[in-house]
């Protein structure tokens, strides 16, 4: 970046930052610093692993992702785990959205008991650790109501995330202008019709970004159900490691798979959001 030509200007030039600060914050220098630091960290871990005598076997990882057999292309164990994670998360998310909407509407209903029940629910869920909630569902509520570990996991995730999702709904609904309620009322709509045709379609715009965040959060917290041995991505990863002892490679791979999935989700939704914004 070259300095602009100031020769034609009549005013005094304004004071600049000291030369050393300008040097440090120039693009080239900051990129160089970044690579130096990252290089050190990678070198450190690599030599550390070397000193432990860790035997890297990356060439054995692909078979857990995919393989070619006589029947053609086959998805590997990790992909089956991923599909299980997605199925688990999608079911839990759908339930969480339904429950969250219910709690938000209760909170906004103006009924004393409705508000009390929803605030009680929020505080209860917010103040119990996710792991404890999972144990409650699996060891206590599961036997009482007769659901298995799979449904215990889904219900735990749904209930845990419905608390935050209900707050997202509440904020999104409140963000819609009060005049919209009045206009809908003045043409004779019921409260239900007003929510369905007027308020909720407009709140989607406000809710989409935090909802995506919550979906990403749910996919990541679904890893916790591996403690009750539900067969999903993290559990499968652990099983592979106990067979092969490749803990470094497999945990790196599992982390990368989670990251790819949540990144695709975020990018997809922000694309949707831009499409939505044009319509308004």
């Amino acid at each position: 970046m070259s300095a602009p030509d100031l020769s034609g200007l009549r005013g005094q030039p304004l004071p600049q930052r000291p030369a050393f600060q300008r040097f440090l914050s120039s693009t080239g220098v900051s990129v160089a610093i970044y690579f130096a630091v990252m290089g050190l960290i990678i070198y450190g871990s690599f030599t550390g692993a070397q000193n432990m005598g860790y035997n890297w076997q990356w060439h054995r990882v692909p078979q857990f992702l995919y393989s070619f057999t006589d029947d053609g292309f086959q998805l590997g164990e990790i992909f089956h785990g991923l599909l299980a994670t997605i199925q688990l998360s999608a079911t839990a998310f759908a339930l969480a959205v339904a429950l969250g909407l219910l709690v938000a509407l209760l909170r906004l209903s103006g009924l004393v008991m409705g508000t009390a029940v929803s605030i009680g629910f929020l505080e209860l869920i917010r103040n119990i650790p996710l792991l404890v909630l999972l144990y409650l569902f699996y060891y206590v509520l599961g036997p009482i109501f007769g659901f298995d570990r799979y449904w215990a996991s889904i219900l735990t995730l749904a209930v845990f995330h419905s608390a935050l999702i209900s707050e997202i709904f509440r904020a999104g609904i409140n963000a819609v202008d009060k005049g919209q309620w009045e206009a809908a009322k003045s043409i004779g709509m019921t409260t239900g019709q007003t929510y369905r045709y007027i308020i909720l379609p407009q709140s989607v715009r406000f809710m989409l970004p935090p909802m995506t965040g919550e979906a990403v959060h749910l996919i990541k917290s679904s890893a916790i159900v591996s403690v009750i041995a539900v067969a999903e991505l993290t559990t499968i990863g652990r099983n592979i490691i106990s067979d092969t002892f490749m803990s470094f490679e497999i945990w790196f791979t599992v982390a990368a798979v989670y990251m790819v999935v949540t990144l695709i989700l975020s990018v997809g939704v922000s694309y949707l959001e831009r499409r939505y914004a044009v319509d308004q």
Partner: protein, 249 residues
């Protein structure tokens, strides 16, 4: 007003409080079928509150309000039916921004009156013609000017085939050059025989269409008189002062 006709809105000893604030004080008023009433007064005088009571956006605390033979109060079972008879045009338009102009006009008839799509669309196009913007049917509200948006809002109320139209300062949020296009539509509506209650400071419009002028101050009705007497010889001093202020220029 042409001849004597039946009262359609009857307000008797109406009082309204916001907490300790006495917003409407012992209001008595009668609007007849086909009458055009213009309500004016300084801000905070209770004009908007009064007409918002007429379609249940606000509830009065005591007194009686009868519209089209139905007594209006918070427990009334007939409010939804009544709101379909009483249209409201707001200062801020309050169009539904996620729906096109045509959808804005069709959603009431389809969802509230349970009309079919074809019938609702025919009605919507008819009233878009009447407010002179048939070519804007497929646009979104945000793509229209303020004056066009307010005309869509008027058409939206008309699509419900209302018998009474309430206007709450319909031109106050508009740029000056757009006020007339909205007032023109309102004048045409007045000529069609609609019962109208209009809160406005547009005195030119009031002179042209009003059968009755009402002046409110501090929650009270100070003056009710026909426009010729209202503008030339109002009986109350407060009303005269107010008119002097807004008619000065």
């Amino acid at each position: 007003m042409t001849g004597v006709s039946d009262p359609i809105i009857e307000v008797t000893n109406l009082d309204k409080f916001y907490g300790d604030f006495h917003a409407l004080k012992d209001v008595n008023l009668t609007v007849h079928q086909g009458e055009k009433m213009v309500i004016c007064g300084p801000s905070g005088s209770g004009k908007s509150t009064l007409i918002r009571c007429f379609n249940g956006l606000e509830w009065h605390n005591s007194g009686q309000l009868v519209i089209d033979g139905v007594e209006v109060h918070e427990q009334s079972k007939d409010m939804r039916r009544l709101r379909q008879e009483v249209g409201m045009v707001f200062q801020q338009f309050n169009l539904f921004p996620h729906l096109t102009v045509l959808e804005n006009l069709m959603i009431g008839p389809m969802k509230v009156r349970r009309q079919g799509r074809a019938q609702a669309e025919a009605t919507a196009r008819k009233y878009l013609d009447r407010v002179h913007i048939p070519e804007q049917a497929d646009k979104y509200p945000a793509q229209l000017s303020g004056g066009q948006q307010q005309r869509v809002a008027i058409a939206r109320s008309l699509c419900m085939e209302t018998r009474i139209m309430l206007f709450d300062e319909p031109t106050s949020a508009l740029d000056p050059e757009m006020i007339n296009e909205v007032l023109d539509v309102m004048v045409e509506l007045a000529q069609s025989g609609m019962t109208m209650v209009v809160v406005t400071h547009e005195m030119g419009f009031a002179r042209k269409v009003a059968d009755t002028m009402v002046f409110m101050e501090a929650g009270e009705i100070v003056e009710v008189s026909p426009p010729d007497r209202f503008f030339t010889n109002p009986s109350s001093e407060r009303c005269r002062l107010f008119l002097d202020q807004i008619l000065e220029h």
